[in-house]
Symmetry: C2
Subunit: 342 residues, 2 copies
DNA sequence: CTGAAAGCGCTTACAG
DNA sequence: CTGAAAGCGCTTACAG
């Protein structure tokens, strides 16, 4: 592969001048610039980003470590992150932690070894030493969706409290009194917050959230299945299952279907995180929609701000309830398909 | 950030010895190794992968350019690619082309500039000059899922012919005679092949595939919606719509629902690519399942073979039909949930 | 077993 | 406006 030296030779100039011409440095004569461009063209030269990074100490690359790429919510988040980053002149390398702390650490380490300029993190757990070290060492970092309390890093997330309150009001109005939740891992903020919001909303209606109605999931489908089966085996099963993410809702649907139960007639279902498929499931699933695209973009802007020496602030955007049929509400007539616009 | 020089100073050794100790070179005394490790620990040293790459001329990184991350099929492919790559000691950088040739080229260029060791490609189009150049220049490359004829690069893909034949036989048995397809872009192999396989299977039953029953989609949901509306506006609409991927099937469902049509009573629907949600859609969707995980792993192995100087062969794996209710078949009783095991 | 030195491909003060 | 030279952080023949 042709190097800058080859270009210099071909153009009859020094590598310094070639470098300047290629980087749009002002003090290069039009003639020199022309010869450089011609040589580049002739040789099919492309600058070596590795060498440039070593020299300039910047990679123009962002690392994004997410808990689970297979989760449509995170897929969409990743996509918006990449788009915004590209618009700002950065590439992004995605690390999929698969909800496994060791894998998350592996990716953080790999990314840091590659000297990415900044890190976007949606932690799988309460924060490993590796991550905390990176934060303390001053690596530009931003948390998205999930975060770690007590670490001085901006957080870009959505607030589901109001939406959860709306959901519970909706459920109460439909006559449901025994409401259960499939929670995410307690080590994650979203795992805890969604349970807390749910409990608070229930309390406002004079309802309790007994321990038996809090199932411990891990944000993945299998756990939704398992927890739902546990609920159904209870002497007094809940009337509603609220899954704290869309994959656990998928698992819950699997479990309900395996038992031959009808939703919402036999049991109601709702989910945190809205996805296009929820419009077409049997029945359409009532869900809480996050402004996913906006979150991804805001997170990138905050991170790039940090990288480039500007403040870089935390952002909280509201989530909202999207009512469909899975909790018992009659379908609002064949209205136009509603979809999360994020 | 501490460099190898700092470690050498701390350990009282030369950088050469530190480097050797860190790379497991045999000729390092146990004492020296111990001192290096202690210094590394004390300094929190982590080797700079950028510098190492520049020196060794290898990045231990694979590039993966896929047509659309938001498509669950490609998400799963990307995940299996990353897993297998990690197992073989490689990282992967994903570029999402979003079915846009210019974006695909952008990613290929960026990846090449970063000097990735090899490229995994699922081309959005018939092959841009940039891609062809890379292939000709000897960059280790492998096509996954989609490929470009006439380029000497291994292809890892699945063959859907038998499954499509099974699908058409299934549809024929159910009494359907007017079958339409929402095709992918003609510039892609999967876009063409699926139509060809469908037409051939129809012919085997003495059926035609009129042009009006071939809708031009782009593998994304909106096009599925648009094409389906076109079908429904026909004087003689089809009895079956076969979407060449899962996102266009989603669009088709949207369109059908907007018109208040029932599936399969008013019109049947089938899709290429199976996804977990198809079990829970209304109705469950009959689909052709690819061995996605196996494809991703095989592609990585082929690419790494090429990179490390071994042959690296093409692989073709069969897809298979998964019958559900969207074409009219009565549900095969509440059997255990079937799911693609890939 | 260890170290001094060259070199990977760039960028960028420093001189002219 | 241009070039010679240093240096980013590593690895690896080459000597010893």
């Amino acid at each position: 592969m042709a190097s800058i030296k080859d270009v210099a030779a071909e153009a009859g100039l020094s590598v310094a001048t070639v470098s300047r011409a290629l980087n749009g440095h002002p003090s290069v004569s039009p003639a020199a610039r022309r010869r450089v461009l011609a040589a580049v063209e002739a040789l099919g030269y492309r600058p070596n980003a590795v060498a440039r990074s070593l020299r300039t100490d910047q990679t123009r690359t962002l690392g994004l470590v997410i808990s689970d790429v297979m989760n449509p919510y995170f897929t969409e988040l990743a996509r918006s992150v990449e788009e915004e980053a590209r618009a700002l002149g950065y590439s992004v390398i995605i690390g999929n932690a698969d909800e496994r702390p060791e894998l998350q650490d592996h990716h953080v380490t790999t990314l840091l070894d590659r000297r990415i300029d900044g890190l976007l993190l949606s932690p799988t757990d309460g924060g490993s030493p590796r991550m905390l070290d990176a934060a303390r060492a001053g690596t530009p970092m931003v948390f998205v969706d999930r975060w770690i309390p007590g670490v001085d890093v901006p957080v870009v997330r959505s607030d589901g409290q109001t939406a959860v309150r709306d959901l519970v009001a909706h459920l109460y109005r439909l006559g449901h009194r025994r409401l259960a939740i499939i929670a995410g891992p307690a080590a994650t903020t979203t795992g805890r917050e969604r349970v807390d919001a749910f409990r608070a909303a229930l309390r406002a209606h004079g309802l309790e959230l007994p321990d038996a109605y809090i199932g411990q999931g891990d944000f993945q489908a299998d756990s939704g299945r398992r927890v739902t089966e546990g609920f159904l085996d209870l002497a007094e099963p809940p009337e509603v299952v609220f899954a704290a993410d869309n994959l656990m809702a998928l698992g819950a649907l699997d479990a309900l279907r395996a038992r031959g139960l009808r939703v919402p007639d036999d049991i109601a279902l709702a989910a945190f995180d809205d996805i296009p498929w929820f419009v077409h499931t049997d029945p359409p699933v009532t869900a809480i929609a996050q402004p996913t695209g906006a979150l991804g973009r805001a997170a990138v802007r905050a991170l790039v701000d940090r990288i480039e020496g500007r403040p870089g602030e935390s952002v909280t955007l509201p989530a909202r309830l999207v009512v469909r049929r899975s909790c018992g509400e009659p379908a609002p007539s064949p209205s136009p398909v509603r979809r999360s616009t994020s």
